[in-house]
Amino acid sequence: MSENQIYTLTINGAEREVRDSWVGESLLYVLRERLGLPGAKGACEQGECGSCTVMVDGSAVCSCLVLAASAVSSDIVTVEGLSPDGSLTDVQESFIQHGAVQCGFCTPGLIVAIHNLLDENPSPSELQVKEAISGNICRCTGYGRIFAAVQDVIATRSA
């Protein structure tokens, strides 16, 4: 693959062609600036803040640390693709109900990380929830309402 060569990514189940890009661009940049998917947020660009979290081949990763051109054979799911019809997921609904969103910048990354956790472990302990979002930094909420929202989803799903 050479400079400005077109490549195709599989995002939220659809094949998306990437044109006119520098091949060193991160997946975060390509999602936001090339493909019109601004859900993942860019802040630290070094994997510290988690606001750019997406799923790549079933794992939550920082999209700022994925070389987009190397992800050609991967299955990528962004916050926009968590529910097939574009409606809000139970985690998103619970965030709204518990007021777990303040400025909202960290929210998409948290939502993806929490979906990833609950996919792998439907009944995590409080400590496991804390560990699962230890890479998602929220500077507004103090996390209390986020944890309450997650606990509610866990309870509702197991009911």
Binding site: M1, S2, E3, W22, V23, G24, S26, E45, Q46, G47, E48, G50, T53, V56, S59, A60, V61, C62, C64, L65, V66, L67, A69, S70, A71, V72, S73, S74, A113, N116, E131, A132, S134, G135, N136
Partner: protein, 278 residues
């Protein structure tokens, strides 16, 4: 800039040999930071992402060894049989970044970057890991001590790549500990791995982030071996102090040399005590 995604090790080393300026990309957790901040402007990249033969591991109980492929992630090390046979490596992997970083970052990437703060490196040093290296048409193995030759410098030659790591399965306690400014998401200020071998009650200790390379505390290890008194709190403290004498810390943006040396003393005394409280 061109990106290549070979499917096999042989294809990858051929690409590296024919493209001497190409960078090898594994999990991206170090590489992409440098690219995002314009510290590195790669012209050609060989990605290991599609090379499935790098993502394997093999526990061989008959030869008491475990082989871990270079593409095995930290989260795999934490959650598989690897954690049972080399628990210190799992502990070290557990301290890397966040779940997102551990899902992407690999053991081979830690060796490729070869930072003195690389969390798995003290474990590889204390276990005297053999690094398996491929080049077109051939393989070679090198001891970890001969692999890491400086801060972010390894002895890989042009056209070579790390294929994996061969480690002994040691009977006895082993552990990893590090100091940073918080519990999650932190690069170590000082770290240490201690491996106790029950066969002869020897210890091996390796120190991270306190020198240009990982430092084996050989003098402290020898002192441990000479002790005939029962293991005591005083002995662990003395052992920690002796390990600290072998550290070569510097002062940088992350910590002072004095604090790092003190941290080594505390970490090594603590690991020695843990190794004896079974």
């Amino acid at each position: 800039m061109s990106v290549y995604t070979p499917q096999t090790i042989e294809e990858a080393v051929e690409l590296l040999a024919t493209h001497p300026d190409a960078m090898l990309l594994s999990g991206g957790t170090d590489f992409m930071v440098e690219v995002n901040f314009n510290h590195r402007k790669p012209t050609e990249v060989v990605s290991t992402k599609a090379i499935n033969e790098l993502k394997v591991w093999d526990v061989d109980h008959s030869s008491h060894t475990v082989f871990i492929g270079a593409g095995v992630t930290y989260s795999t090390i934490e959650a598989t049989e690897i954690a049972e046979v080399v628990p210190a490596l799992a502990e070290a992997s557990r301290t890397v970044g966040s779940p997102q970083i551990r899902a992407a970052g690999t053991l081979g990437g830690n060796l490729g970057t070869c930072s003195p703060a690389g969390d798995t490196l003290p474990v590889l040093a204390a276990l005297e890991a053999r690094i398996v290296i491929a080049s077109p048409g051939s393989h070679r193995e090198v001891a970890f001590a001969d692999f890491m030759v400086g801060a972010k410098k390894n002895s890989l030659r042009s056209g070579e790549m790390v294929v994996g790591v061969s480690l002994p399965i040691v009977r006895g306690w082993q552990g990893y500990a590090k100091v940073g400014v918080r519990n999650a998401m932190v690069i170590s200020i000082a770290s240490a791995c201690l491996v106790r071998d029950d066969v002869d009650d020897s210890v091996k200790v390796a120190l991270g982030s306190v020198g240009p390379t990982i430092i084996r505390a050989h003098d402290a290890e020898a002192w441990w071996k000479d002790q005939t008194v029962p293991r005591s709190k005083e002995m662990f403290a003395e052992f920690g102090a002796r390990c600290a004498l072998e550290a070569k810390p510097i002062t940088d943006h992350r910590s002072t040399a004095d604090y790092r040396r003190h941290a080594v003393k505390v970490l090594c005394a603590r690991l020695a005590a843990r190794s004896s409280s079974r």
